[in-house]
């Protein structure tokens, strides 16, 4: 299992909070990192499975981070392909905080959207909106600087399924 740490922060206040709140890596135990579901068919992917997929780094800014951050993780289209979810027009992503959003799979073909596991070289923890954070290359495409795409930056992703 990869270890998770809080990523670096820019403001002094945030830095203090991070320093105080840093704790041991989250124990994943035997729990899957991500569950893929297509109807009754389910597939559980561990961090090792996700780590084995080809990774892409995108450097981008968003409404929830200071400046541009280098996010790294597998491409969502590669993850979806594991259970042929990319054949569906839309997929639903669910977060640990019960947030859910439906996203058209064409987004993952048009853009190099990743499931970010690292930010600026540090693994994302649950407290850092990880361990999996859906990230669009917003800085590379002007059309992505839109609230519609901002709402798709779902963090703490635990499940992807067909709606």
């Amino acid at each position: 299992m990869p270890s998770f740490r809080l990523k670096g922060r820019h403001s002094a206040e945030a830095a203090l909070l991070v320093a105080l709140c840093a704790r041991a890596p989250m124990a994943a135990g035997g729990d899957p990192a991500l569950v893929l579901a297509r109807g009754p068919v389910k597939m559980e992917l561990s961090f090792r499975d996700l780590d084995a997929l080809p990774k892409r780094t995108i450097v981008t800014g968003n409404d929830f981070s200071d400046g541009e951050v280098a996010y790294r993780g597998p491409l969502v289209r590669d993850v979806l392909a594991r259970l042929a979810l990319d054949r569906s027009e839309t997929v639903r992503l669910l977060a640990a905080n019960d947030y859910a959003i439906d996203i058209p799979t064409s987004d993952f073909v048009t853009y190099d959207v990743i499931l970010a596991m690292e930010a600026d070289g540090h693994a994302l923890s649950l407290r850092d909106l990880g361990p999996l954070w859906l990230m669009y290359p917003i800085s590379d495409h002007a059309e992505l600087r839109d609230p519609a795409y901002s709402s798709r930056l779902i963090w703490q992703v635990i499940r992807i399924e067909t709606p």
Binding site: C21, N62, F64, D66, N97, R127, L129
Partner: protein, 545 residues
């Protein structure tokens, strides 16, 4: 027709500036509206604030479950909810959304107090065991103290968000009013532009109509003038011919030398006037666009002789006209119009130069007849006005004067014949005028010759001497045209017979072998008929070239 003033330039410029200003203001207003809409949709902080409250309640619920059940699963759920709540708190101050939320907490401290508490709670949660129910109950009690402050924080955010949305709404309303005003102004400006364009179109149409009417009137006047000119020329020629005829008869009678000179002078003036009238007739036809040139075979030597006769003054002042030996005798063209061209030019030249110093030589170069006037190097020749000759004064019709009439007619005829007039100085400093008019040789594959003589011996000699693959002697009764008629002038010379021959062979070249009694019946004369070589080269050579 009432004159319509054109739209002033400064008015068009003002309209352009107004349009540009409207476009700029419209662009800025639209950009502001777009920004307002973006702000409205992105400033939704309420979701983030309420989520923090929700996560606190979830953590509180999971901790209460741990206090009641004391199971490892409940402890794991509590720890996870603790981390999720932490993630919410850590968002404060991060990015645009976090900055806005921290702004609401400044001077209130709910989030800061929550962060401090979570910081104290972190090691407690890490060491918590499933059986630590009392600790869990204590945590629940502590969390309830934060609930109220967090709720008040959420209300601050709601109030602020509502105010922000209201401000944005006001901006959008103001932007919409501005956009409506700009749209109205733009529509007004467009209507004004359309009106200006329609007015300009109408004005141009009026001008076009006026110009068309003027052009038609001018054309009609010009046609009337040309018609009058043509009619006058025609009417003048008839009485003039009535004068020239008796003069010709008078010239054939026995006259004293002094009277003969007077008659010749009268004949020459009459001929000159006739040419001028012919020129005016042609000029009128050119103006009316119905002028046509003939393309018929003619003899260059005959043309040269006629021009010589036209331009020669008294017997002692003959005008020099020559034909280059290599020039084909028979050429296609309009002999009469060519004669007019060179006579008009020659007459114009001789107004400024001594007659004896002027000379005209004909040649054939490429596919054009060339006639070249060369004249003196004296001061008069150099101060001579060439502008009428080159057509440089053509653009000012009111400046046409009597001295420009001849060059104008000549130039018009040259132009009609697709010819070129060139003025230049030769290497001796003599000025020259060269006229080149397109033409072509008259070629015969076989020359059909009729020999008219009463002498069988002479006939045998000529036939033997001239017969070749290209020369065929034909009898008068043979079918087909005759190209050349050779007449033994020593035995035949009666006018009646010559008239009959001319009538029978209208297109043939008539050559007199020996000096004829009536030279007017012949196109060429071989003075020494026994000189077969001269006959062959000078007549047959040109004819067959």
């Amino acid at each position: 027709m009432k004159a319509v003033r054109p739209i002033p330039r400064h008015l068009a410029l003002v309209m352009l500036l107004v349009a540009a200003a409207i476009a700029t203001i419209g662009y800025l207003a639209l950009r502001r509206d777009a920004q307002n809409l973006r702000d409205t949709s992105q400033d939704n902080l309420l979701w983030s604030a309420t989520q923090m409250e929700v996560e606190l309640l979830r953590f509180e619920l999971s901790t209460a479950l741990l206090a009641s059940q004391g199971t490892p699963e409940a402890l794991e759920e509590t720890r996870q909810r603790f981390d999720i709540l932490w993630s919410r708190v850590l968002m404060i101050g991060r990015g645009r959304v976090g900055d806005a939320l921290r702004h609401y907490d400044d001077g209130f401290g709910a989030i800061r107090a929550m962060a401090t508490y979570l910081q104290e709670l972190d090691p407690v949660i890490a060491k918590l065991r499933p059986g630590d129910r009392a600790k869990a109950r204590g945590i629940v009690e502590d969390l309830r103290r934060h609930e109220e402050r967090l709720r008040l924080f959420t209300l601050r955010v709601v109030g602020g968000d509502t105010g922000a949305v209201g401000r944005v709404r006001e901006r959008i309303a103001a932007g919409s009013r501005t956009t409506a005003l700009i749209s109205g102004a733009a529509v007004l400006a467009c209507l004004l532009c359309v009106l200006m364009i329609l007015r300009e179109q109408w004005r141009r149409k009026m001008i076009e109509e006026l110009e068309r009417r003027h052009a038609a009137e001018a054309e009609q006047a010009n046609r009337a003038k040309s018609r009058f000119l043509t009619m006058m020329s025609h009417e003048l020629r008839n009485p003039l011919n009535g004068v020239l005829g008796p003069l010709a008869l008078l010239a054939q009678s026995e006259l004293p030398a002094r009277l003969r000179r007077l008659v010749e002078q009268a004949q020459q003036s009459g001929q000159s006037m006739l040419q001028m009238l012919s020129g005016l007739l042609d000029y009128g036809e050119m103006q009316e666009g119905r002028f046509e040139l003939k393309q018929e075979p003619f003899r260059i030597s005959a043309l040269a002789a006629k021009i010589r006769a036209d331009l020669s003054g008294p017997a002692e002042a003959e005008f020099g006209v020559g034909v280059h030996p290599k020039t084909p005798e028979l050429l296609y063209g309009d002999e009469e119009r060519l004669r007019q061209v060179f006579v008009h030019l020659g007459a114009y030249v001789m107004e400024a130069c001594d007659r004896s110093a002027v000379r005209l030589d004909f040649g054939f170069e490429g596919s054009a007849i060339e006639g070249e006037f060369t004249f003196g190097t004296d001061a008069a020749a150099h101060s001579w006005n060439v502008e009428p000759l080159m057509g440089q004064s053509e653009l000012a019709p009111d400046q046409v004067s009597t001295d420009t009439l001849r060059p104008m007619i000549a130039r018009g005829l040259i132009l009609a014949a697709k010819g070129v007039l060139t003025l230049y100085a030769d290497d001796k400093g003599r000025r020259a005028i060269r006229v080149a008019v397109p033409s072509r040789r008259v070629s015969f594959e076989r020359i059909r010759v009729h020999l008219e003589t009463r002498s069988a011996a002479l006939a045998a000699i000529y036939q033997a001497a001239l017969r070749s693959e290209r020369v065929v002697f034909v009898s008068p009764d043979s079918p087909g045209p005759v190209d050349l008629v050779l007449v033994d002038a020593t035995t035949i010379g009666a006018d009646t017979l010559m008239s009959q021959l001319r009538y029978r062979f209208p297109d043939a070249l008539f050559v007199s072998l020996g000096l004829p009694q009536s030279p007017n019946f012949f196109d060429d004369i071989v003075e020494t008929p026994n000189d077969i070589g001269t006959l062959r080269t000078s007549v047959l050579g040109r004819l067959a070239s």
